[in-house]
């Protein structure tokens, strides 16, 4: 919505989104210097608020910080791209800067001010009234694809185990091996052994198969923790674990894992 001044001229409107209040104040005062005619209709403290307030006030321009809680500036931009002109404001974000440099959409580095801000304002003044360009859309897509690298399957990285009255988080990097124990699974670390409710089957599905190998129907071992593989007199392969006295048996079906040895 454009506010009409008594003279019949449209007055441009803008919204500022930044999670840090001092930064919003700063941008507001600098904008007033660089473009006295611009009306700041609202300020948002996070991405969700920015999208909601932009819907409510329909500003011509939205100044978006990139790192914000709840919803980042980039995610917010994806929802706003066709409805207003977007200017990213960031303190330091090399990816964003690289991306912006390829396109026409503007960005400002904090603290924004002086000549740079005036250039941006001049550019925006010529754009007001036009539809946001397609390049903004492309750039927004480019940005969001950079912010979220190709959806790799997310593997379980932390095991939750009840220890005493607390829920302990154990990094998978600490685990030496998992061993099935009826309905439960025993998690062995260098320091302790804990029981968790997950079955070995569930764990095997959720863990990174390159990080953990199944060497037995009831054993999952962390590859990095393996010190070596030996054969005992009965011809069974035994896995020796680093800093751990017990050796683990490799069942016949899994001997191919250590075939080259």
């Amino acid at each position: 919505m454009n506010v009409n001044t008594p003279g019949g001229q449209r007055r441009a409107t803008a919204l500022i989104a930044d999670d840090e209040e001092p930064m919003r104040q700063q941008l507001r005062s600098r904008l007033q210097e660089a473009w006295p005619g611009l009306e700041i209709v609202a300020e948002a403290a996070n991405g969700i608020e920015a999208v909601a307030l932009a819907g409510q006030h329909q500003p011509d321009i939205v100044f978006l910080d990139i790192r914000m809680p709840g919803m980042s500036g980039i995610e917010a931009a994806r929802l706003l791209f066709n409805r207003c002109h977007l200017v990213f404001v960031t303190a330091y974000d090399q990816y964003a800067i690289e991306a912006f440099e390829q396109g026409a959409l503007d960005y400002l580095l904090k603290p924004a001010g002086g000549e740079r801000l005036r250039t941006t304002c001049a550019r925006l003044q010529t754009l007001i009234g036009q539809r946001p360009s397609n390049i903004e859309r492309q750039l927004t897509q480019l940005l969001s694809s950079q912010a979220k690298p190709a959806a790799k399957p997310e593997y379980l990285r932390w095991i939750q185990a009840v220890v005493g009255n607390n829920l302990r988080m154990i990094s998978t990097r600490e685990v030496l091996f998992f061993r099935a124990d009826e309905k439960y699974t025993r998690v062995q670390t260098e320091q302790a052994e804990v029981l968790i409710r997950k079955t070995l089957k569930e764990l095997a599905d959720e863990l990174d198969p390159d990080e953990f190998w199944r060497i037995h129907r009831s054993t999952l071992v962390r590859v990095d923790a393996i010190e070596g593989v030996t054969r005992d007199l009965r011809g069974r392969q035994m896995v020796k674990i680093r800093n751990f006295p017990e050796q683990l048996e490799v069942s016949r079906g899994h001997t191919h894992l250590f075939q080259q040895m």
Partner: protein, 313 residues
Amino acid sequence: MKKNRLAKAGYDNAKSLLDIVREIGDTAAGLWWRFFDWLAQVEWRKLIIIWLLLLIVGLTPIGLPKQTGFFILLSFGLKVLAGGKRKAELEAREATSHADEEGLERRLAEARMAALQAQVEPHFLFNTLALIGQLIETDPPQAALIHQNLIDYLRATLPQMRAKGAGTLGRQIEMSRAYLAIMQARMRSRLAVSIDVPEETLSATFPVMMLQILIENAIKHGLEPKIAGGRIDIRASASVSTSGQMLHVEVIDDGIGFNTHAGDGVGLANVRERLRILYGNRAQLVIEKPLIGGTRACICIPYAPDIFAGSAK
């Protein structure tokens, strides 16, 4: 059916019998190798004395002269033929384990390097500078305060600036205070902080940058992404357990909590590795999810109270 079962029972019996035979075989083989190793390493002089003693026993009526003679001949033959090679092998193995120790030292050096390189996040630095710029216009005294905090933080964080004797809990807490003061100025009411560290633990040895990594994690992954913000509590306590006196340093936040699918990053892995190298199994990094939400991280290390701390001042 019955025949089958009988056959199966027979099979099981045979199997268990076979197992027993194998166990005996294993044990005998183990003993033999032990004897062999001993023979390879024992000095000739000692061996000759043992032979002489055996000869004397062998010549008495209870002794078994034939067997004694056989044993002496056998051990002599083995010692001459294979002893040298086996000895070399054993020495080589020992050398390897020395090499392992050296490897450990190298890893310690590497981990120290990583700690030194633990960087000031550029994002943090630029945001703080932008904040100072804004405050110079609107609130100069506050700007001077934040500026001082930034200097304190950088002095403790930049490797080139890191002062000697930074490895006490007191120094680490001071640095965290500076960092948290900056974050509070930026996040305003979204960040509440409480620090509860008993006076007597301040002089205790505490590795550099570990507390800092926990606090930065709490803010970055717990509180910054939470719209309402939250609080961060830092506590230290000493306790006595079976393994001696322990120092616990906790960082508790009520942020959005843990993502079980996120990697544990460079920070926590670095803390864990350094604890392991510095203290072996006596130190621990424990991460918990309290029932009320958020995250609790605790570093437990052996506590050596500085008994001269009081008199030195």
